[in-house]
């Protein structure tokens, strides 16, 4: 009763293995080679994979299960960041109090927003959450400047109290840590031409990612999860059977808000500052995109989507015209310049254009995301082998309503 099914266990162990071995897996190309720019095995990026993975998992609990499309999740991320930084300022540079406060405050905040927004469903709900997120952005950006430090963003200073830490005599800003382990500490392992980096911050994030993933599996398989799916399938019918669905949706909303708070807290733990731009609507859109790209309503999808987006964001924004010219240098000059001119709009600073196009493509052609794509390929592969594909159960996720 208290155990996971075999396939869930497999999924969990795969995710665990990938996240533990990420420094190897993400670093396939030797240092200094032409392909080294496609490596992703450095601490900052790996931390972002894990943090945004948590965020997408949380968002998926709301959107994937209940079908309520929230456009304001970045607000909870920002709230989490701010509360964590305040903890670092007031209490201690240990990340634990910061994370706890981040989760609690984000939970309370999402309870408040959820209570109002969940009075309506469908489009209304999306619009309301979007409006609340913009309101939180304005609050953080200007209205609540004493708490959020407005445009500059909340930062650590030397004369913060930090009650638990004792006096800071070094004259440098203290760094975040976990009982003496500093988040930025990185252990480098050189094997031949490869340099693998093991970062403490990343492993802390990965641990939280695994915890979040485990909780998400439990929610997916629980009676509570079933109830959420029922809401997505047909809320009216559920109401007619005499069930009040709002407590369930509110619970899902708060849980996913707490996930976002945790992600925000981790973000602040890795780099102790918090700015209002983290709460803007573009950030909320990115969260939605990650979940959809990976596959809404699937366990693995959101993590995949988050990794995919963050990886390509990083790679695409690094490519500039010079790099493009070296790639296409084998072509005749005129053609080379033409191709570079066209591609130039999609890379570097134009990454957002690619992101928008990708977003549209996914929604139009592959509403089930990468998971559905993979499933389709596997199906076709099996059919070619001669096995009857009709017996494979159709588990393709249906887009949310």
């Amino acid at each position: 009763m208290n155990t996971l099914s075999k396939s869930d266990k497999m999924t969990f162990f795969i995710v665990a293995a990938i996240s533990l071995l990420a420094p190897f897996i993400l670093n396939p190309f030797p240092e200094g080679s032409a392909m080294a720019q496609f490596n992703a095995g450095y601490p900052d990026l790996m931390q972002r994979f894990a943090i945004f993975g948590i965020l997408a998992i949380g968002f998926n609990i709301l959107f994937g299960l209940t079908g309520y499309l929230s456009f304001g999740h970045a607000a909870f991320l920002g709230v989490g960041s701010y509360s964590a930084v305040w903890m670092f300022k007031l209490l201690s540079m240990n990340i634990i109090p910061g994370l706890i406060l981040a989760v609690i405050i984000a939970g309370l905040f999402s309870l408040l927003i959820g209570f109002v927004s969940l009075r309506r469903s469908g489009i209304y709900f999306s619009i309301l959450t979007l409006a609340f997120a913009q309101m939180s952005f304005s609050l953080a950006y200007s209205v609540l400047t004493p708490i959020t430090n407005g445009e500059t963003g909340l930062q650590l200073t030397l004369d913060d109290p930090r009650i638990l830490d004792g006096a800071n005599t070094t004259g440098n800003l203290p760094v975040t840590g976990l009982f003496g382990l500093e988040m930025r500490d990185t252990f480098s392992l050189d094997i031949g031409a490869w340099a693998f980096q093991f970062n403490i911050g990343y492993y802390v994030c990965a641990a939280f990612l695994l915890l979040s993933f485990y909780i998400s599996i439990r929610i997916f398989r629980s009676p509570f999860g079933l109830m959420l799916r029922a809401i997505k399938t047909n809320q009216t019918r559920l109401n007619y059977t005499g069930l009040n669905s709002r407590p369930y949706t509110l619970a899902a909303f708060v849980i996913s808000g707490m996930y976002a708070g945790l992600a925000g807290g981790l973000m602040a733990s890795m780099d102790p500052l918090a700015g209002a731009e983290r709460m803007q609507w573009t950030a909320s859109g990115e969260i939605v995109l990650m979940t959809i790209l990976g596959g809404t309503g699937t366990l693995l999808g959101p993590v995949l989507g988050a990794g995919f987006i963050k990886y390509f964001e990083n790679i695409f924004s690094k490519i500039n015209d010079t790099v493009l010219h070296t790639w296409f240098s084998f072509m005749p000059d005129g053609l080379e310049n033409a191709i570079v001119w066209v591609l130039h709009f999609f890379v570097g600073k134009g990454w957002h254009l690619t992101l928008g196009l990708l977003f549209m493509m996914i929604v139009i052609f592959l509403p089930g995301g990468l998971m559905e794509g993979a499933e389709r390929i596997i199906k076709r592969f099996r059919a070619k082998k001669g096995g009857d594909s009709d017996t494979t159960p159709d588990t393709a996720t249906k887009p949310a309503e």
Partner: protein
């Protein structure tokens, strides 16, 4: 008294923009049942129509004037805009000066076409899909349009002034019997208000008094029955989408002198327009217009120094940035359907 009047006037121009965008949103929602997250991008495109036209008008022919020389004795290059060459110096400069109002003529066909392409090319395929998909695809489209504009025009705001005649302020107080200089108000904002009032009236008249409008209203009420009567309602709805796009575009064109266009202005306005639609009542055209003006005026009252001082005295932060959202929350908690929303619309 004059302070209150001034704040009402101040709220009117922003309120007009909200009302126009919200009107278009409601039109699209009422006819096609789609929430268009790219509507703010259409507003922004309208603004950039004005920018484009003002740039086209000053395209110049470079001639070498042998009579003028610089200090080294080389002949100077003189730029004469083609418009000046064709229409003469004074007429040409007037045309350049009036580029923003002229852009209305330029924007109407452009925006109708953009709306048509958007509906036929993309949104048509999403009628049968869930609402979430419609939101997502238009949201993606908004990002794409925004980024294209950013790539073409740069990230900085582009100032595009109003014609010289309207650049000053008008002593509005004298008109209604107050002493001079009590209520002074920029000309262009008055024009903007008049312009949007005209557009809103035109849209309502079109829906109310033409056969086409009557059919569209019938289609909004019961699409299937209208279809059964042998009327191609889809075609008319596509046209209404074009109209909604043109309304948003025109709102953008005329807004350029008030606020220099930048690539993200669309989204800033869109979020507020959504709130306006929700407050007004989803699917209600008069509700959208009413709520647009109301919230615009409220916003300007909240930014009054007296109001700010009042909040400061209570040790509260000033609320001018978030008043609209606060009102939305209150309206939603007390009247979940909005001010003028009808039962049965978007009840899920």
């Amino acid at each position: 008294m004059d302070a209150i009047l001034l704040q009402i006037l101040n709220g009117l121009d922003k309120g007009s923009a909200y009302a126009l965008i919200a009107l278009g949103l409601t039109l699209i929602f009422g006819t096609l049942g789609v929430v268009n997250f790219a509507h703010g991008a259409l507003f922004m495109l309208g603004s950039f129509c004005a920018v484009t036209l003002s740039k086209i008008l000053v395209i110049s022919k470079v001639t070498i004037d042998p009579e003028k020389v610089d200090f080294l004795g080389n002949p100077l290059k003189v730029k004469t805009p083609y418009v000046m060459e064709w229409f003469g110096e004074s007429a040409g400069s007037t045309i350049i000066d009036w580029s923003v109002p002229l852009a209305i003529l330029f924007a109407i066909p452009v925006m109708l076409l953009v709306g048509y392409i958007m509906e036929r090319g993309l949104i048509k395929h999403f009628y049968k899909r869930p609402h979430a998909d419609q939101i997502l695809v238009t949201f993606g489209l908004a990002i794409v349009i925004q980024e294209i504009v950013k790539a073409a025009f740069g990230a900085n705001p582009i100032p595009t002034p109003a014609p010289d005649v309207f650049r000053g302020s008008y002593d509005f107080g004298v008109l209604i019997g107050m002493e001079a200089n009590a209520v002074i108000y920029p000309f262009w904002r008055l024009i903007y208000f008049g312009f949007s009032a005209t557009i809103i009236a035109a849209v309502f008249a079109f829906l109310q008094f033409t056969t086409f409008g009557m059919v569209v209203r019938a289609g909004m009420a019961d699409r299937e029955t209208v279809g059964l009567l042998g009327i191609n309602i889809d075609k008319r709805f596509t046209f209404m989408f074009g109209i909604a796009a043109a309304v948003a575009g025109l709102a953008g064109v005329m807004y350029t002198p008030i606020n220099s266009p930048n690539y993200h202005m669309g989204m800033d306005f869109l979020v507020l327009s959504f709130v306006v639609v929700v407050v007004g009542g989803m699917g209600s055209l008069p509700g959208a217009v009413l709520a647009g003006f109301l919230l615009g005026i409220l916003e300007s009252f909240a930014s009054m120094n007296e109001v700010k001082g009042f909040f400061e005295a209570l040790y509260l932060p000033s609320i001018d940035q978030i008043i609209i959202y606060l009102v939305a929350i209150i309206v939603l908690l007390t009247r979940p359907r909005g001010l003028m929303g009808r039962a049965g619309v978007m009840e899920d």
